[in-house]
């Protein structure tokens, strides 16, 4: 029986400093501190359960409160349950854990809003004329990539080998609707002009089928095993192969279809007949072919287009849903995922321009092609690459994605609310509400625990090993009754099943 697909997205944003002398790390710190300046309290990330090698300076609360422009690696938890931090010289925001793909879309949009507010507030901290600009993309066009990772809760009982084999075909072929589009090419040994336009920002950077790396020789399936919850029951599938999407529906489809395919694997309802002969070759073949006609080699000796593989996955998803129901992604989300999935495949097959309001690579390609035609430009003209980059500029007055008619899923008021408020549906509610109510008594927090300092006793760590505990339904009464952090902890001792 497939388990609920608790999910989230972590995005590393591209960052550019104008008319000021800051490196990317300092600029990222400044940006985040500018956002944190909205409230009087801030809570450090707790590195307790992280692997060695991560910078632990986030534990030094005094340092984090240092003046904004100092080069400390800021790492904080927000009242909406998200993590906002500096990672590899990029500002990164991880959404809180969400119960459904549509909730992920809302919190991914809230993350954009957080970056936008950060940019606006940073202006006051910079010299006159200075500006920090953030881009929601995954490559600089010069061979440097930064990620947009997805995370899904998976049943530990599923053999990892089966997971790898059966999810890979989806990761390779979902690009047809998840690709954010890219002018040029950055695969090893290639020249930028070798490919005029491709579906994916990230496909050029994948060199292995499976592995632990995330910064070099990136694998299609990442094996990082940090469940951030009960490791005996769960796995967190850390997906590094995706693009950051500007289109809300593309984000919904990326997370929604993947959640369903994973649930099918848990129910052993997918089988091995989509296995690819050469996944690394195939991921580039699919990305490099905006005509969508290229075929990739299957393990059974046959060939198929990415669209054909996607149609088969959808067909199997429908029959899985008929037999097992859609509880893993919730019924409402599940129905919408299946509808949008069919709709996008139908459009891509008929004419990709039919889905220019949904698929980022199509929306961007229309701009690039239209502009090239109007001004009679060669494919390597810098103006076309500028359009590619500026598509993902998060400034409202500069963003091209904001101008090209992408369909909106989430009401703007709900996005703004999600900047400060956690989702009701997961332990993120407990985390975010604790921070909103008791931040002065919280030393640090992370995905699976909160450390309180309530004075006389030793620091008190409250574990949150179950992602679906600590929801609003389970804790609203507890919060209403608790008058202080100490009171909350005392009450938790009486009622451990929250």
């Amino acid at each position: 029986m497939a388990i609920p697909k608790v999910c989230g997205i972590e995005t590393e944003y591209g960052i550019v400093v104008r008319n000021a002398e800051y490196n990317a790390v300092t600029a990222s710190s400044l940006l985040i501190n500018a956002f944190l300046g909205r409230s009087n309290t801030r809570t450090a990330w707790d590195f307790f359960d992280e692997q060695p090698g991560n910078d632990a300076r986030g534990l030094l609360l005094g340092e984090i409160l240092a003046p904004e422009v100092e080069t400390h690696l800021v790492n904080t938890v927000l009242t909406n349950g998200a993590r906002y931090y500096v990672d590899h010289a990029h500002p990164e925001c991880s959404t809180p854990e969400c119960r459904t793909p549509s909730e992920v879309v809302r919190y991914d949009r809230a993350a954009e809003e957080i970056l936008r507010l950060s940019m606006e507030r940073a202006l006051a901290l910079l010299p006159a004329g200075g500006e920090i600009v953030v881009y929601k993309n995954n490559s600089d066009g010069k061979g440097n990539s930064y990620g947009c990772h997805e995370n899904y809760l998976v049943d530990r009982a599923v053999p990892f080998g089966r997971l790898v084999n059966q999810i890979t075909p989806h990761f390779v072929t979902r690009q047809v609707f998840t690709g954010a589009g890219k002018v040029g090419c950055e695969s090893p040994g290639s020249m930028p002009g070798d490919i005029a336009y491709q579906l994916s920002q990230r496909a050029d950077f994948f060199e292995e089928e499976v592995g632990l790396e995330t910064t070099l020789k990136r694998p299609i399936v990442n094996t990082r095993d940090e469940p951030h919850c009960d490791p005996a029951k769960y796995r967190r599938l850390h997906v590094i192969v995706g693009d950051a999407n500007m289109s809300e529906v593309a984000t919904f489809l990326k997370v929604g279809t993947t959640a369903i395919v994973l649930a099918m694997i848990e129910d052993d309802a997918l089988g091995d007949d989509f296995t690819l002969a050469h996944p690394v070759t195939a991921i580039r073949q699919v990305s490099n072919d905006p005509s969508l006609r290229a075929t990739i080699a299957l393990g059974n000796g046959k060939r198929a287009t990415a669209l054909e593989v996607q149609w088969k996955l959808l067909e199997r998803a429908r029959s899985w849903a008929d037999r097992h129901g859609l509880d893993a992604v919730t019924v409402d989300d599940g129905k919408r995922i299946l509808e949008e999935w069919e709709s996008v495949l139908t459009g891509l097959e008929h004419d990709p321009n039919d889905v220019a309001d949904v698929v980022d690579w199509v929306a961007k390609k229309r701009l690039v092609d239209g502009y090239a035609q109007r001004h009679n430009l060669v494919p390597t003209d810098a103006r076309l690459k500028a359009i590619d980059l500026q598509y993902s500029d998060l400034r409202r007055d500069k963003s091209l994605a904001a101008r090209c008619g992408l369909r909106v899923m989430v009401d703007e008021a709900l996005v703004r609310e999600a900047v400060d408020t956690p989702p009701d549906s997961t332990r993120a509610y407990f985390r975010g509400t604790c921070l909103a109510r008791f931040a002065p008594d919280i030393v640090a927090a992370n995905w699976d625990s909160i450390v309180f300092d309530v004075g006389r006793d030793p620091l008190k760590r409250v574990p949150m090993m179950e992602p679906l505990r600590g929801t609003k339904a389970l804790t609203a009464e507890l919060f209403a009754a608790s008058t202080s952090a100490a009171d909350l902890i005392a009450r938790l001792g009486d009622a451990p099943q929250t």
């Binding site: 550019v16 590899h88 910064t215 139908t346 239209g370 103006r383």
Partner: protein, 66 residues
């Protein structure tokens, strides 16, 4: 593949069969509107595109991340 042919056939039916999905009917209109807007959008790109595209693209250099 057989499945694909089947889905191609079923796709137009879906628009008629699910009238509750108001967005589906709007899709075609939406696409037409997008086409009309493309020209205006290209005008706009000339206004908002970074003034020196070559410098902008050249200086857009990021440290590799995850």
């Amino acid at each position: 593949m057989a499945e694909r042919t089947k889905k191609q056939r079923s796709a137009p039916q879906r628009e008629e069969a699910t009238p509750t999905d108001s967005e589906t009917g709007a899709d075609t209109e939406n696409t037409d509107r997008l086409k009309e807007e493309l020209d205006g959008l290209l005008d706009e790109i000339d206004e908002v595109l970074e003034t020196n595209a070559e410098d902008f693209v050249k200086s857009y250099v990021q440290k590799g991340g995850q």
